[in-house]
Amino acid sequence: MSQKHSSSNKGVFDAVVSWNRRIGPEFYRLALEFSGAGAEAIAAFRPGQFVQIDLSTAALPPAEAIPQHLADGARREILLRRPFSFADVDVRGDKTHAEVLYCVVGPATLRMTTLSPGDAISVIGPLGNGFSVPAGKKVALLAAGGMGAPPLQYLAKVLTAEHPDVDVLAFAGAKTAENLPFERPLDAISQQLGFSLPEFARHGVKSQVATDDGSAGFHGLVTDCLAGWLGVGPGSARDSTVIYACGPEAMLARIAQIAKQSRIACQVSLERRMACGFGVCQSCAVECKVPDTNETAQKLCCQDGPVFDSREVLFKR
């Protein structure tokens, strides 16, 4: 465990795996426990921030458990850490517990599935800037596309705890019902009351589901679902509304457009390939507008983001 040599609270910490649970065909939740300096540092983790996890020492699953499309990639050794935003952080006594919601997409997340209770892993964090609540906001709309859900799950918890005067509503979209990275949707009665997803319902937050194929909830894109809601929502409340979005870049670009048209404040959490996560490798460039000019400048997703004001970003096509 490294000593701290600056005023920031980030560092390299060891975490111990509490449990690692499959919640859907490709989705898992991994619970980590931090002690000592790590517990203190991760307790300060804000929704939308991220950590870099070293998965290079995690074992591969047995050959028969490796999906066919990952079989070749699985033979590659892992060098770099992988960035994850926590879906939950909970301080209990002198320990801090954090949950990673992940999807198996490549050799590193494949190895992540074999982590077992008691295993130690190295985590760098907290990194980057998370979501913030601008003054005077009374309505917060969370928009999650696919694997963009984790930081918004934790945001729902923090918003309801720290800003009881803010109404929070979540929108979650995916290609199909199976691709929604949530525990099974709630029963019909809860759904009638507006509570679809347990991860939001547990904080008293109502949610709407959208799937591209209509296999659950609204048939269409989550962006259309959100736009539809805004269309019928009270127009006068725009100044006091804020949108928080995380998901694929095309979705975020559309959300930014909706926010601009509706004159609603909007914060988006972006994703870039990154090697370090703390500003030295310069890999994770995000092209941003320079205020009051036609110029653009490269900001770093890891250091200046990953959460940006949607008006600032030139989204990748």
């Binding site: 703390f278 030295v280 994770c284």
Partner: protein, 311 residues
């Protein structure tokens, strides 16, 4: 740690507390690694490349992981000379390790401009002349592949560098690295650093497109280490040893054992690059590990180890 062990080295006239640097482009401009380690422990520190004008760098993706390595094509993104002087130099003034500024340019004049402006700065011990960046259309490796151009850049920069040390960073992507090293030393280089990254490419077989926006990138990490060790030993034998010019060795170093291997091959000091991304405090661990190695093998002075390869 055993107190009477001496792991300090003389590097082209500068006294280093130990032979460990952090490599350009992997440790920021100044104190960015301070969140993770006490950077005053380092022997030396090399800044991110500085060019006369600010550079935005390439589009993303700028990196891709490979087996035991990674490719990068950042495109020398940097704040430019003026902002470097205004914002970064004051931080460097408070740093204990020897600070070298990595200098890049598209023309010889651009290298000279940066060196001239910084040659009088107390915070800086010297310059690392980057004639080996594989990721830019002009400058970089286009200089580094031609011994005549390497000699021209080196002698022009040497004239501008005053009392500061001038180190030339070599590319491994040449037919005969010793020929380039010789040209740099003849033209006045006080030290050589090698190797920069190996030009490489990764293709996405689903789209049949290169993964990196720049098409190619520089391969670094453990994958290149044995090639780097070979090239350092070759330059040591062919040029550096006879001319008394120190080598800063780099290429895939992650552990103290790796560092010792480079020193045995002929490096007077080593630089940690890609490993900083994964383990940002690894330079401190490597310094400790070198100490332990010297204690274990009863080497009172690390200078005995430099180029001690037995054949």
């Amino acid at each position: 740690m055993t107190q009477d062990l001496d792991i300090s080295v003389d590097f082209a006239g500068i006294r280093l507390a130990n032979p460990v640097f952090t490599a350009s482009g992997t440790c920021g401009y100044a104190d960015e690694l301070a969140d993770f380690m006490d950077t005053s422990q380092l022997g030396g520190f090399i800044t991110k490349s500085v060019t006369v004008q600010p550079r935005k760098g390439h589009a993303t993706p700028r990196i891709v992981e490979t087996n035991a390595g990674m490719l990068n094509a950042i495109g020398l993104a940097n704040v430019g000379l003026d902002k470097f002087i205004e914002e970064k130099l004051p931080v460097l003034e408070n740093m204990t390790p020897a600070v070298l500024v990595n200098v890049a340019g598209e023309t010889i004049d651009e290298y000279v401009t940066v060196v001239e402006r910084l040659a009088g700065e107390k915070a800086i011990a010297g310059f690392e002349i980057n004639v080996s960046c594989p990721n830019v259309a002009k400058g970089g490796i286009t200089f580094g592949k031609d011994p005549k151009l390497v000699a021209e850049v080196t002698s022009a920069a040497k004239r501008a560098s005053g009392q500061k040390i001038l180190m030339v960073k070599l590319s491994p992507c040449v037919t005969d690295i010793s020929e380039i090293a010789h040209a740099a030393v003849e033209a006045g280089a006080d030290a050589l650093s090698l190797v920069n990254t190996f030009t490489a490419m990764v293709i996405d077989i689903e789209t049949c497109k290169p993964v990196l926006a720049n098409k190619t990138g520089g391969l670094s990490g453990p994958a290149i280490k044995p090639m780097a060790v070979y090239l350092i030993n070759k330059v040591y034998d062919d040029v550096a040893k006879s001319r008394g010019v120190p080598i800063l060795g780099m290429g895939g170093i992650r552990t103290a054992s790796d560092a010792v291997e480079f020193i045995i091959a002929g490096a007077s000091a080593v630089a940690i690059g890609t490993a900083n991304f994964i383990e940002p405090d690894c330079a401190a661990k490597i310094i400790q590990g070198i100490h332990k190695y010297c204690a274990r093998y009863d080497i009172p002075n690390i200078r005995e180890l430099i180029g001690s390869l037995e054949v």
